[in-house]
């Protein structure tokens, strides 16, 4: 009961708080990076379900051991016949406890979801067209890359995605993001590269045909200066060629 009450209270607080985050989120320059938030929530939910799982498993194991048939013991069970009040109690209380936990998880999930969907205003916006089987990025200045997403460290990156042919899914495990791209719609995702000099795998997470498992790319994180140099050079190159 105690745990349930705490969860219920926590859930209420979280719902209110998340509404607050929603309202305050716009125009707020502070960047809420979802990736560490993901790790945090994952740990929390895993602990939550592990506790539930162990409780149920221990209870089951205890019953199995305690009520096994022993020589000379009873040969039929004597499970209780519940009174109406007890029967209803055995519904109401578990329902209350389970729902409290569900709302608690949902509220936390919602807060994190908001940071996944609210893209910081100060961002680099890149167009992505996916196709069988490559990722084609176009930068605001016309610079164009394939299977290599070159980004500056410390700046939120927003991808606006569409597809030439089938479904594809731009999955960057290191940044804990993925979203489908498809013909006829524009979808988006964003992430925050932090460490310059690192490379991160981009891989396709929507079955898109024979070579689906080979549809891979890289996010290449540069320092802001390096990035600037590369960006301007390839921007002018793109202008010349067009």
């Amino acid at each position: 009961m105690n745990r349930a009450l705490k969860h219920c209270a926590a859930a209420t607080v979280m719902v209110v708080a998340s509404a607050g985050v929603m309202a305050a989120g716009y125009g707020d320059a502070r960047i809420v990076d979802p990736a560490p938030g993901w790790d945090h929530l994952w740990r929390e939910v895993i602990i939550d379900i592990t506790v539930i799982g162990i409780l149920f498993a221990l209870m089951t194991a205890y019953f199995i051991w305690r009520y096994r048939r022993v020589p000379g013991g009873p040969t039929v069970g004597s499970g209780p016949t519940l009174s109406t009040a007890a029967a209803i109690g055995w519904v109401i209380i578990p329902v209350f406890v389970f729902m409290a936990d569900d709302f608690f998880i949902a509220a936390n999930g919602w807060v994190l979801w908001n940071s996944y969907r609210d893209v910081p205003a100060d961002r680099l916006e890149i167009q992505l067209e996916s196709g069988m089987y490559s990722w084609d990025y176009t930068y605001p200045n016309g610079a164009h890359t394939q299977n290599q997403l070159i980004v500056p460290a410390g700046k939120p990156i927003l991808l606006r995605m569409t597809s030439r042919d089938t479904l594809h899914n731009h999955f960057i495990p290191d940044f804990r993001v993925k979203e489908d791209s498809m013909p006829g719609r524009v979808t988006y995702l964003w992430f925050l590269p932090k460490e310059a000099g690192k490379e991160h795998i981009v891989t396709c997470a929507a079955y898109c045909g024979v070579m689906h498992s080979y549809m891979a790319g890289r996010v290449i994180v540069k320092t802001p200066e390096e990035f600037k140099a590369w960006y301007e050079a390839s921007g002018t190159a793109a202008k010349k060629s067009s």
Binding site: V45, T60, G77, S78, G79, L112
Partner: protein, 523 residues
């Protein structure tokens, strides 16, 4: 034995046995596909085929046949057919010929699915069949469409038949609140089938129309929309997992009550809260398969809440099931071992659904091996174990003979070990980023060891299942006579001879006011 009386039979028990044979055959074929996939994945790069298409066809056949050809027919075909008229004290189902049509259509569906291995350009659209790929592939999408349509139609016929049977043909005195929980579970499952299968039928018909008849349902350049397919598909296919879940939980209830010699704990909570709670919620959660598909945001958040709430009715059923052990007198024959195994393994499967239900966590987990691990725990482990438990449990009734207890238990322990090796490892590498439906994981060399471990686990698993299958075959041929009620169960199906004759009872049973299928210690 008269072969004609088997093949063209309209008797529910024989129809049930035909369903069992067909679905076990489907299980073996799809299991062999799984082994091929596992061997292919045991090393980076090509292992036994250098053509990714072969892998994709195996995966398509594995998923589609396991779900549509094995689990749904075994649960709503075999168990429902064999048990329900016996459990409600009826001579047969309401429409025996419709029943025969449904099993025949099931075989047609399985034949269509198996044609995959014999035709040029086999279907390679995965069991989900998403367009646009399914409408532009050179593979035979029509075969996928017709497989689904035929099996779906078979299931609708079954649903109409059983709901009518249960509503009108119960034995005198057998009121709704005295039904076996299994019967209730089948009611729930078939209500879901009747409502949702037509939607699936429509969805797969539309992709074949787009591909072959030139329509534009999913073609955005002509005003169509690719996402509608995913919505229609999951609008059925999420409830479909409860079409699997409900009957297998029903089987567990029967077994646990019998081997604990105990009444079901809080029966009404399990039926009206659990089963009907699931039926009510099942249709409102499908978007959890589309969390990363580009749906509008508000619906993703809304369905996160409904998905999480599914844990409430499932939890109620679990409490009733575990509570049935309380103050029981428990023995551990093979069916009970499998059933108790499920009690633990289903917890893993069900609870790992919780992170998936959380929209923001799924942003990382979706389409990864974590998902594959989750649904193998609930379906391939909990579901298959329950089916095996049920077959062992009703084996003496079905054949009149007894299987071998030693090999039964051995088979259980081997599978128990194998499953956990395979499917636990899947969840682990999934969280670390391994995407599903990959023929080759050369981008993720760090997972090679885990994949090898899973391949070994799959072989162990296969051996365990093979032991069980052989045990049945040998038991059916030369097992010792089992008697009419070897488990000492109270349920009606055990009051007739084993195997039951055509018509089930010389004089149909009637039940008294005190009787319930779980009234142990009263008679």
């Amino acid at each position: 034995m008269n072969l004609k009386e088997w093949i063209f039979t309209t008797d529910h028990k024989r129809v049930g046995v035909l369903y069992l044979i067909g679905s076990i055959a489907a299980f073996i074929v799809a299991g062999v596909m799984a082994l091929l996939m596992r061997i292919e994945l045991s090393s980076i790069g090509p292992t036994i085929t250098n053509n990714p298409s072969s892998y994709n066809v195996w995966l398509y056949a594995h998923g589609a046949v396991m779900i549509l050809g094995f689990q749904i027919p075994a649960l709503t075909g075999f168990f429902a057919n064999f048990c329900i008229p016996l459990m409600i004290g009826a001579k047969d189902v309401a429409f025996p010929r419709v029943n025969a049509l449904s099993v025949w259509l099931f075989y047609v569906g399985v034949i269509l699915a198996l044609l995959t291995f014999f035709i040029p350009d086999p279907p390679d659209v995965m069991w989900t069949g998403y367009p646009p790929y399914s409408t532009i592939t050179t593979g035979n999408t029509a075969l996928y469409t017709f497989t689904v349509l035929v099996l779906g139609f078979a299931s609708i016929l079954g649903g109409v038949n059983f709901l009518t049977t249960i509503a009108y043909m119960r034995a005198p005195g057998l009121t709704w609140n005295k039904l076996n929980i299994f019967v209730w579970c089948v009611v729930g499952a078939f209500i879901l089938q009747l409502i949702f299968v037509p939607v699936l039928g429509t969805a797969v018909t539309l992709i074949s129309m787009d591909k072959y008849l030139g329509t534009h349902f999913f073609d955005p350049t002509q005003g169509g929309d690719v996402l509608t397919y995913q919505n229609l598909f999951w609008f059925y296919s999420h409830p479909a997992v409860y079409v699997i879940f409900l009957p297998f939980f029903g089987v567990l209830f029967e077994i646990v009550a019998t081997f604990a010699k105990n009444k079901v704990f809080n029966y009404k909570a399990a039926v009206y809260g659990g089963i009907f709670g699931i039926v009510l919620l099942a249709g409102e959660v499908w978007v959890h398969h589309l969390y990363v598909s580009g749906m509008v945001d508000w619906i993703r958040v809304g369905q996160m809440v409904t998905t999480l709430l599914i844990s409430v009715p499932v939890g109620l059923m679990l409490i009733s099931l575990v509570g049935t052990l309380y103050k029981g007198s428990i023995t551990f024959e093979t069916p009970m071992l499998y059933a108790l195994g499920v009690l633990f393994l289903f917890l893993i499967g069900g609870l790992t659904g919780i992170p998936l239900a959380v929209t923001s966590l799924t942003v990382h987990l979706a389409r990864s091996y974590y998902v594959v691990g989750h649904f193998h725990y609930v379906m391939a482990v909990a579901g298959t174990f329950s089916i095996f438990a049920g077959v062992y449990y009703w084996f003496p009734k079905m054949t009149g003979k007894m299987y071998n207890e030693f090999w039964g238990k051995l088979g259980f322990w081997v599978t128990f070990v194998g499953t956990n090796i395979v499917f636990w490892t899947m969840m682990d590498i999934g969280v670390k980023g391994m995407p599903r439906r990959y023929y080759d994981y050369s981008q993720f060399p760090q997972f090679e060891g885990a994949h090898q471990l899973m391949t070994i686990g799959a072989v162990i698993l296969g051996i365990g299942f093979a032991i069980a299958l052989l045990n049945w075959i040998i038991g059916a041929i030369k097992g010792r006579p089992a008697g009419n009620n070897p488990w000492g169960s109270m349920s009606l199906e055990w009051t007739t001879v084993s195997p039951p004759p055509h018509g089930n009872w010389p004089t149909p049973p009637a039940v008294g006011a005190e009787w319930t299928p779980y009234a142990y210690g009263k008679s």
